[in-house]
């Protein structure tokens, strides 16, 4: 019984991070129909914001506040300088963002070094929950991720801005005709998506070593989350994260990490074959 609870909580931890990062990707993809191959680097930027805060004597909480701002600023810069010229060339966006991704990754490596940084746990100790002792920080992470999801859901569902966003997702041209400033929505979507990835980065950092290619693994995984869950809705992102995070955690208990990731990939491909609604644009 205890084993199952641990398994569940561990799966929730992985799924929570995927949720936040995947949501960022889903916002950019759902709204702009653009695929951002530098999304993983925004996770890295978030994690290194924490590293920088640590080195400068700041706290985790400060980094958690700063990271989304840093992420959003980088996002705005990227949208203004590159992406906005490429809206009608989806493949070019992939290539340009991949170029940016390479530059950011190497830039971080040249600035901070290739060696990993360990970040101290902001919340030490364990807490007793449904009969098991579980690290407080991980519980905090799960709660934070869920509240971010809930907030986004409420914004999209109940605010004027959310209505605009839903309209753009439905039909971009029609939305523009009805007086919605789609360019502004694009910019906001891109910065919001980048900010979410950066928050994800800060949350991940205390769990392990922070390395320059930290975000790369999350790039592929968050794509699977969006693909499996289905494009264009928050519930899909949540479902996709739980599926991918759950499967990976479960497999990790029984087989080597790399094999389990290969298995998750294969499963994602099979899902795509039989439930293509997720992967095929309407």
């Amino acid at each position: 019984m205890e084993g199952i609870t641990y398994l569940f909580l561990n799966a929730m931890t992985v799924a929570s991070i995927l949720m936040v990062v995947g949501l960022g990707l889903a916002i950019i993809y759902g709204l702009m129909e653009l695929i951002n191959f530098a999304h993983g680097e925004f996770v890295t930027i978030g994690a290194y914001t924490l590293v920088a805060a640590d080195l400068l004597g700041g706290s985790f909480w400060m980094a958690l506040l700063c990271a989304p701002i840093v992420g959003a600023l980088f996002g705005i810069l990227m949208e203004r300088v590159l992406i906005r010229y490429l809206y009608d060339r989806p493949l070019a966006v992939i290539l340009a963002t991949w170029g940016v991704s390479l530059i950011i990754r190497q830039g971080i490596q040249l600035t901070f070094g290739a060696k990993g940084f360990g970040v101290s746990d902001p919340l030490v100790g364990t807490m007793s929950i449904v009969g098991v002792e579980y690290p407080v920080y991980r519980l905090f992470l799960i709660v934070t991720a869920l509240s971010i999801m809930a907030t986004c859901y409420l914004i999209i569902r109940y605010t004027r801005f959310g209505l605009d966003v839903r309209t753009v997702i439905q039909d971009r041209e029609m939305a523009a005709c009805m007086g919605i400033n789609t360019r502004r929505i694009n910019l906001m979507a891109f910065s919001a998506g980048s900010a979410l990835a950066a928050i994800g980065g800060v949350l991940i950092a205390p769990l392990g070593n922070v390395l320059p290619h930290l975000g790369l693994g999350y790039l592929a995984k968050s794509f699977f989350v969006v693909i499996v869950g289905g494009v264009g809705n928050i519930a899909g992102v949540a479902a996709g994260s739980c599926l991918i995070g759950g499967l990976e955690t479960f497999f990790n208990y029984h087989i080597p990490v790399s094999l389990s990731q290969a298995l998750v990939l294969i499963l994602a491909i099979v899902i795509v074959r039989y439930r293509p609604q997720g992967i095929i644009p309407k």
Partner: protein, 351 residues
């Protein structure tokens, strides 16, 4: 499966533009082939091996161009097929103690990537996965296969890879035949490169090339005319993976070792750049792109090793914004303009 050979036999009368194109291509091909065939006359052993490796990477780039330039599907994890080919060669020939094990290894290096491409391709292509989605999934395949190579230590040797791959050859009774000197390896690789290049060119200059172009243009139309487009694309993907695998097998037996960076994302990225710089869809361009970019890599790395990823990143952005067609189409445009000019003045003088 019914395969219609008429696609390969039936020829349309070429237009003037096509004739010019083909002449440029043939001149470039013959020039390059002649240069490479004669290269051992003055090259030392070290540079011979260097050019041989470049040619192998050129074959990988060719295989990506076949998939992306002709089939319209961009793979962002193409090094996976190359690396799997190399590892298949290594594992088979190291572990099997048999007179023909290195030949069997070469066979495996073609067959295994082909089978993997068949499985993945069947699921993706018949599900209608195209364009950007294909890029994402192949990227993921690249990441996962690299991780597998690093952490499946008992088979792949992990980070340190596998050493001691025997050279290509076979033992029959007491007779032993082995390709273990630089010169013969160079010519084997060159032959494979030139033959595969000629073969794919010949295949795609006729109606089959038109068909592939048509599928990329308007797949729905091709389907409703009666073409089984998914099957055509699947065949292109499998053959591309097999060619990349063959290059991997050759690389493994030439260098004698394999390591996880053979299927790294960085290599996939570089393969893409070779094709894009050389000229997508030209088949010959990727070789030229591979030569130029690898040369540039040597220069940049000699300044500072950390600089190269930044340069590659910048090249991506340059490709997107300034140089979307690549070198060969650029030269073509130039030659066509020059030729038109020449012909016009020729006519004037003639009359």
């Amino acid at each position: 499966m019914k395969w219609n050979p008429i696609i390969f036999r039936f020829k349309l009368p070429p237009t003037l533009k096509q004739l010019v194109d083909e002449r440029i291509w043939l001149v470039a091909f013959i020039g390059l082939a002649g240069l490479l065939l004669a290269y051992p006359l003055w090259a030392d052993g070290y540079s011979l091996n260097l050019v041989r490796d470049m040619l192998i990477f050129g074959i990988v780039a060719l295989s990506l161009d076949w998939l992306w330039g002709k089939g319209g599907m961009l793979s962002f994890g193409h090094a996976a097929f190359f690396g799997i080919g190399a590892y298949s060669m290594a594992i088979t020939s190291i572990n099997l103690d048999w007179g023909f094990s290195s030949l069997l290894g070469l066979f495996a290096s073609v067959a295994i990537p082909g089978i993997i491409a068949l499985l993945i391709g069947y699921f993706l292509i018949f599900a209608g996965v195209r364009g950007a989605y294909f890029v994402i999934v192949t990227l993921a395949i690249g990441i996962v296969s690299q991780q597998a190579a690093i952490s499946w230590v008992s088979v792949t040797g992990g980070d340190s890879g596998l050493l001691g791959i025997p050279p290509l050859g076979f033992t029959l009774g007491d007779h032993r035949f082995q390709l273990d000197n630089s010169l013969s390896l160079y010519y084997v690789v060159l032959t494979v490169a030139l033959l595969s290049l000629l073969f794919l060119w010949q295949l795609s200059r006729g109606l089959y090339g038109n068909l592939l172009k048509g599928i990329e243009n308007n797949e729905k139309r091709a389907q409703s005319l009666g073409h089984n487009t998914s099957l055509h694309l699947l065949i292109v993907m499998i053959s591309s993976a097999m060619l990349a695998g063959l290059a991997g097998g050759l690389y493994a037996s030439c260098t004698g070792f394999v390591a996880p960076d053979l299927l790294s994302l960085m290599l996939s990225t570089e393969i893409f750049v070779w094709v894009a710089v050389g000229g997508r869809g030209t088949l010959l361009g990727p070789f030229i792109g591979a030569f130029i970019i690898m040369r540039l890599q040597q220069v940049v790395s000699s300044i500072s090793t950390g600089l190269w990823p930044l340069v590659i990143g910048a090249i991506f952005i340059i490709i997107v914004f300034v140089f979307p067609d690549g070198i060969l189409p650029f030269i073509r445009k130039f030659v066509v303009r020059f030729k038109l000019l020449f012909e016009k003045s020729g006519v004037k003088h003639g009359r």
